[in-house]
Amino acid sequence: MKLTPRLTLIFVLYAAALLAGVGLLAYNSGRESLRSAVISELQATAIEKQAALDAWVEDKQAGITRLAADPATIESAAVLLTASPDSPEARDAHDRLLVEIRPRVLGGEFLDLMIIDPQAGQVIAATNPGEEGKFKEDRPFFINGKIGPYVQNLYYSVALQGPAMTAAAPLRTPDGRLLGVLAGRLDLAEMNAIINRRTGLRQTDDAYLVNTSSLFVTQPRLITDPAVLQRGVHTEAVNRCLAGNSGVIEVEDYRNVPAIVVYRWLSERELCLVVKMDQSEAFVPTRAFGGTIAAIGALALLVAAALAVALARSLTRPILALQAGAARFGQGEFALRLPETSRDELGELAHEFNAMATALAQKEAQLRAYAAELEQRVQERTAELRQSNAELEQFAYVASHDLQEPLRAVAGTVQLLQQRYQGKLDARADEFIAHAIDGATRMQTLINDLLTYSRVGTRGKPFEPTDVSTTLKDALANLAVAIRESGAVVTHDALPTVTAERTQLIQLFQNLVGNALKFRSERPPEIHIGVERQDSEWVFSVRDNGIGMEAQYCERIFGVFQRLHTRREYPGTGIGLAICKKIVERHGGRIWVTSEPGRGSTFYFSIPDRR
């Protein structure tokens, strides 16, 4: 991946991770604080409800106590309880008593009121006539009401056909003697109202009381059917609460809706107070908050992405410029210099690059100067060499050519001497003459060879397509006598046509085959001329089975006048292979030899294929 997108991606990813982390943290802390706030609110509500409930119960207890302490009530009760039943006094007292207590019922403080005989537990006067004559001897409010003010917790009243709570207080004479128990049933609608009284503007908040049988004691707001003492509630919160605990829990409420639930075990009332709110509502602000965070995060990410692109570009732009510059420099724009605008590392890099470019340009110029100078010198030297070479060749040619004349004269004269005085002088004279003729003849051969050698360079003819096989035939024809005498067998491959000077090529083959014949071993010579195409040249080989030679001489033998044997062993001028070398080199080829003493030699030479 290219640097710019990579950097951008890294920056954006980093920013995204950072934002997500911070956002999540903020969201969680927001949610947590909201949760705490909601719990606090619910707790406060629960405490307030409990306090209100306690106040209500205390108020009722105080009310029944006040009524029980009323002298008129006590007096009438005393008469009623002491007078014989159905006596006019009793009836009178009964009626007075009812007159006394009925306003409390009419005023709504109690649903009904009754006075209970403390011994039998029988109701002797009641605002509800149906209650008179009944026995309350086993009712907790009666048992406890004999001792002091008491409120019996919620129970199912068959008479009321519904839940009831009853407050009771002892009726005592001024001297403290127990006359009876005054009991009044509480209007649970009031309790219901207290519990259901709502403070906030919430939608799903609810408060209710549950008794030890897991039944609703007050009507839950979110249930429309009558639920009091008819409908059970078995939520986790209620279960925990009924086990005697108070606390907070996030569980499903009685509608199976996830809620935050605060529960309080009211041990005095033996009731469980539950205050709850749906989580969905409680966390509505977190959702908005989360939305805001997400929106801000997205915006920030957008900005971060833009910044990342800009940052990546600001980093990569000089690098790219550097790269382009380096590329152009590499393509030869040595004058190119990079802008050194920034002061950072990239600026320094550009600076270094420019310094390097300048140095490189200088070196380049220097190198060029050197090269030019060298070329100049080489050319001069070459010209000098060529000239001296030419002079030398000219000299050799002229020398050998001009030497021929006097030598011919000397040789002719000596030969005349021999013809005329052979046998007429003494034996020593004949010997001297023979020596002179031999020397002259050798001198002629030498000069001829030298002439041939020098002619190769100076008197060459232009190259033309030359059929090597006919050339070889001509060369072998020239050597016919030697071949016949030696009994040599000469074979050759199919030979190509090359661009060469025909006469020189004949000379070349003649010299090489001649050498092969000359340096033969005891075996009859077997000579093979081969050819092989290598790259753009033909490589010819002349292989023999002659005496061969040590590898160390393989170079030397191509020098002028270089011989490995005495003239007596093998006649010759020592110039033949030098001529060969010169011919090959004139054709732009190379000549070399591989050899092994006693096994034979193979001479190779190459002729470039100029077609």
Binding site: P129, G133, D138, L154, V158
Partner: protein, 327 residues
């Protein structure tokens, strides 16, 4: 994600294993348990039905069979001779059994207020037992001691009212031939109300006569031998009753399974009517109080049903209720 993908098959396998293990545990052979009911199938036994059909018994490893009762059925005998392991009977039958040395014991009670009430026509002006003076009261043979006890409680002797024996026929009551009739809150009361009569209902419970009805009982032997079985039975039954209290209208349709010709709607009404007796708002469903047991013994003794004092604490045990409710 990759890890999740790799884990998924493992979770599947684990899940399937768990499910199969779960299946095996529920498929384990259930202990057969037979309950002798005190009457023919009706809403009076709602808790049993709910526990049976909601699988509460199965959860406790029990398979319930019911022996219905009836007018001629001895409820105690099958439990005594092991035909049934548990029974449901009025508590006042268990105390004389105790006196007779029958090794039976109450373990919980369904009706904590007596469903055995007295009804009068609303316009009769008879609203209290005190008003029975000079009137004709119709009640069953076994109801007579209770009536006597009730009247004695308010100081009215047997000579001041007339008792006639009950017949299923309600015509004498409607016609005013008998002024007061003993009735089962969930039976005759509903029947008469359904017939369009307005009633005054007089609860003996309001006059110091507290009788437990439909009390669960078993043998001392089973309690000693297999208390766990008893606990499981009581727990599931009480759970059934809790369900019945909270869902009275669901009871009617359940009864049809045991009594195909049952009137589901009527049975649900019966359940609704019995709610305040089962769920009094005090203590817990099934709970029993020593003073009530003592009171019952006293009442029975005073009325001559018992000829001697009975150690009533031997007639019931709170062991299982206390264990179940953790009290």
């Amino acid at each position: 994600m990759r890890i999740h993908k790799r884990l998924l098959p493992i979770l599947w396998i684990v899940g399937i294993l768990l499910i199969s293990v779960g299946c095996r545990s529920t498929a384990a052979p259930l202990t057969s348990v037979t309950v002798q009911l005190s009457w023919t199938h009706q809403a009076q036994f709602a808790g049993f039905y709910a526990a049976d059909q909601n699988g509460y018994y199965a959860e406790e490893g029990l398979a319930l069979a019911f022996l219905p009762g009836g007018p001629q059925v001895d409820v105690l005998a099958p439990v005594l001779n092991g035909v049934a392991q548990f029974g449901s009977v009025n508590a006042d039958a268990l105390i004389p059994a105790q006196a007779d040395g029958k090794p039976l014991r109450a373990i919980a009670t369904v009706y904590r207020r007596d469903p055995f009430v007295y009804i009068t026509l609303a316009d009769s002006g008879i609203t209290r037992p005190q008003d029975f003076v000079g009137k004709t009261v119709q009640t069953g043979l076994r109801g007579i001691p209770r009536l006597r006890a009730l009247m004695a409680r308010i100081g009215i002797g047997p000579d001041r009212y007339t008792v006639v024996e009950s017949t299923p026929d309600l015509a004498p009551f409607y016609s005013g031939q008998v002024h007061v009739r003993s009735a089962f809150l969930t039976n005759e009361v509903l029947t008469t109300q359904a017939a369009g009569y307005k009633l005054n209902i007089i609860y003996p419970d309001d006059y110091g006569i507290h009788f437990y009805a439909d009390t669960l009982f078993t043998t001392d032997d089973l309690i000693a031998r297999n208390p766990d079985l008893v606990r499981r039975f009581v727990r599931a039954t009480l759970k059934g009753w809790t369900y019945a209290v909270e869902n009275p209208t669901a009871i009617g349709p359940m009864i049809v399974k045991y009594k195909p010709d049952a009137d589901a709607e009527l049975e649900s009404e019966k359940m609704t009517a019995s709610l305040p007796l089962v769920n009094t708002g005090e203590d817990f469903i099934g709970w029993m109080k020593p003073e009530v047991w003592a009171g019952m013994e006293q009442t029975l003794r005073e009325q001559g049903v018992l000829t001697q004092t009975v150690d009533v604490t031997q007639a019931y045990t709170m062991q299982f209720l206390e264990e179940i409710y953790g009290k």
